[in-house]
Symmetry: C2
Subunit: 328 residues, 2 copies
């Protein structure tokens, strides 16, 4: 890396349904200063969100003691359908953007180059370069959260598919005719392995086994969340262990399918559930290995846990801008 | 394309479990002359197969009236696990090759540059450049035969994955806990949508419905093959129509999964079943569309039928050599 990497400044923006995160980074992805605001997408227009991003960006540069024109560019990760070339958000579920020229709007207000990408791809770029993927040439980051998202980085480049949509791996059917998915299909990976799917499955078991430790745990905390089954399993509850095993098998099938179709070097698991840490990975590992197509004599994809947490979005956005504008 | 494309000569070799096909092509992939021999893999050693390829190659150049040294190079597609960089076949189910240096052995015998690749990838390259993929930048060719193979071409390059194995899309589970697959998993795409899977499903229906037209058709021809259900359906048999609809749904789910994970521009269907032609594509199309993730405002992958048939292997092998050795 050249000296310019350290002296150049980039803004990285991660737009989410709940909050918008903004960071001022150097060209190596190190966060110098960051802020965020609540998206309040139901109350705000696209233009209002743009103005808030501009305001926060100016504040960050002021606080850092640099002039806006000293910032080399801005990267943004947005959910939804993105036209990367045009810099438009075509559609994004929980956000007001609809055929919205996000790149052009921000460039006009800020007077700097702006690069737009898909949020999952951008976060994957950060994990690839600075997180669990560093040192590899081909990693796939799978984020298990409200949905299941993924980003694929090959030789430092974001895999975008022919239409820029990348890889919607959550919408791969693993159970034909199974649970209904938000996308309209049935039996999708996301309908079995996302956080809401785990919560749904936990609720089912609580109802089926009202005398279990799992049910006790749920009643005691008056809440069934993504962690409830893990907590009950740690207390030795056989119902929770069985549920998690079943959940992990679905997760392993989905990950195995992706391994067999893409053969990445590393598969990096992010999102809330991966924060269960090494115990989670150890439980998943043997089930995952069973699902791998044995291409004899060839190295197999390896599982890793994501390292950058929810900073991946802003870091990846800044790095995407650095790569797109300076290509080094 | 330069003039050199037309004047340079390449040998393309397609190694299969049943036969080995060899063609002398020009640099545009046009076949000038071709031959083949039966593989007889159970009786022949790897070295014997190499010598036969050499013999047939010399014969082709002699018949074409050119000297072996006038041939610019040879491309070979082999099934199995391939180490593309080393030019070795690590393992290939029905062939004697085991950690066999196919590239080096042929180079030594022939005195010309040899490029080794995976057979499905090589065939996909031919379809991409000269068949149903021509004019597109990103196509995926899915071959439905004894197994389900696939090759992905992005911007003219073969997608190889980190380990060179490309995409083993046949080994993507679409029915968790379903039919046993040859790979050891259960519920794989291949276990539902390959030609043997269709035959197995046809046999099941014949047994279940002994009075059906389908059963009559099977008894009359004393054979249940991949075409039996299509023939009975054409005669109006409701059992056959129902079976095919079920089969097409599985095929559509697998293809939809691949569409949603890769978002290629074109998905090209090859292999025996695709020879049912436009009627096959018309029956599949609406089921396939239902399985697509609607990335609003973005172009969707389109289905095509393969055009090159079983010539794709030799043509693609020759084109791979041309690309690898001359890169134009």
């Amino acid at each position: 890396m050249s000296l310019n990497h350290k002296t150049r400044r980039f803004l990285g923006v991660d737009i989410g349904g709940t909050s918008v995160k903004i960071a001022l980074c150097d060209g190596t992805g190190r966060i110098l200063r960051s802020s965020s605001f609540r998206t309040q997408a139901s109350e705000r227009s696209s233009e209002e969100i743009v103005l808030l991003i501009v305001e926060h960006s100016r504040e960050l540069s002021r606080d850092e003691g640099i002039q806006p024109h000293e910032i080399a560019g801005m990267g943004i990760g947005s959910p939804g359908s993105i036209n990367v070339q045009k810099g438009e958000v075509i559609f994004a579920g929980n956000l007001p953007f609809k055929n919205f020229p996000l790149k052009a709007s921000l460039e006009k207000e800020l007077g700097m180059a702006v690069v737009l990408g898909n949020d999952a791809n951008v976060a994957a770029l950060a994990e690839h370069l600075l997180g669990a993927g560093r040192g590899s040439s081909f990693s796939m980051t799978i984020t298990i959260g409200t949905g299941i998202g993924s980003g694929i980085i090959i030789d430092g480049n974001i895999y975008a598919g022919a239409n820029g949509a990348g890889c919607e791996c959550g919408h791969m059917v693993i159970h034909r005719g199974g649970e209904a998915c938000s996308c309209g299909r049935r039996g999708c990976f996301e309908a079995y392995a996302s956080a809401p799917a785990l919560i749904r499955r936990t609720k089912e078991r609580v109802e089926q086994y009202p005398d279990s430790l799992l049910a006790g745990q749920a009643h005691q905390s008056r809440h069934i969340g993504g962690r409830t089954a893990f907590q009950a399993a740690a207390m030795g509850c056989p119902v929770a262990k069985n549920l998690l095993n079943d959940y992990f098998e679905d997760l392993a099938i989905g990950l195995g399918n992706l391994a067999n179709c893409f053969f990445p070097e590393r598969m990096i698991l992010g999102g809330g559930i991966s924060q269960e840490g090494e115990a989670f990975k150890e439980a998943l590992q043997p089930l995952f290995e069973k699902e791998l197509f044995k291409a004899e004599g060839l190295p197999q994809p390896q599982l890793y846990l994501a390292e950058l947490g929810n900073r991946a979005g802003v870091i990846g956005a800044a790095l995407m801008a650095e790569k797109a504008l300076y290509g080094d």
